[in-house]
């Protein structure tokens, strides 16, 4: 099995966010909201860090 770096990030973020959402909130609506928040932070943070590394290299 092979994955691109970005698809690995998406899968990691998805599964981790689902677990965080369920375990860190009590209300189902808040679980979905917190899970989506975590997913956005994981993916957004990775993209931001990637650009920072690109900027350091160039």
């Amino acid at each position: 099995m092979t994955l691109t770096h970005f698809s690995a990030v998406l899968l990691f973020s998805l599964f981790t966010s689902v677990v965080f959402g369920i375990t860190q909130r009590s209300d189902p609506k808040k679980m979905v909201r917190f899970g989506a928040f975590c997913f956005a932070l994981f993916v957004g943070g990775t993209i931001a860090a990637s650009w920072v590394m690109w900027a350091i290299k160039h």
Binding site: M1, L11, T16, V19, I22, S26
Partner: protein
């Protein structure tokens, strides 16, 4: 009614019939089983799918499966993380799946997927314990 009395009443109302220790152990051994015992089937299914898929992807990426007693402190930490997956880790060792060392670049991602699946399973098992003990609202 005082705050302490209200808290005690809420605790008594939310405490489950399932022992917190049983929920914790079941949740560790099979991802989501603790929540299933507490009659939370949707949460249990989501936890199982997420953790098992993450672990399986880690194995499919030829990730390293850590073993105890290698002498390397980082390997011991990796082993602690892997062991968090409970039954999945035991099954992996019994079936001799995974690799003893990272041989291709993407396998390093696989190792991390396996360790994080174990750590997330511990978080899920502790959540089941909190639900069973009444510390977390159902």
């Amino acid at each position: 009614m005082t705050i302490a009395t209200q808290a005690a009443t809420r605790h008594a109302k939310t405490k489950s019939a399932v022992s917190p220790a049983v929920a914790l152990f079941a949740g560790w051994f099979i991802p989501g089983a603790g929540h299933l015992l507490l009659k939370k089937p949707i949460r249990a299914a989501l936890l199982f799918v997420s953790i098992a898929a993450m672990f399986a992807i880690g194995i499919a990426l030829e990730g390293k499966v850590y073993t105890p007693n290698t002498g390397d402190p980082l390997d011991i930490l990796g082993f602690a993380g892997d062991l968090g997956a409970g039954g999945l880790y035991i099954l992996t060792r019994m079936l001799d799946l995974g690799h003893a060392s990272v041989q291709i670049a993407i396998a390093d991602y696989g190792s991390k997927f396996i360790v994080v699946a174990g750590l997330l399973n511990i978080v899920a098992a502790v959540d089941a314990h909190s639900l069973a003990s009444g510390r977390k609202l159902p």
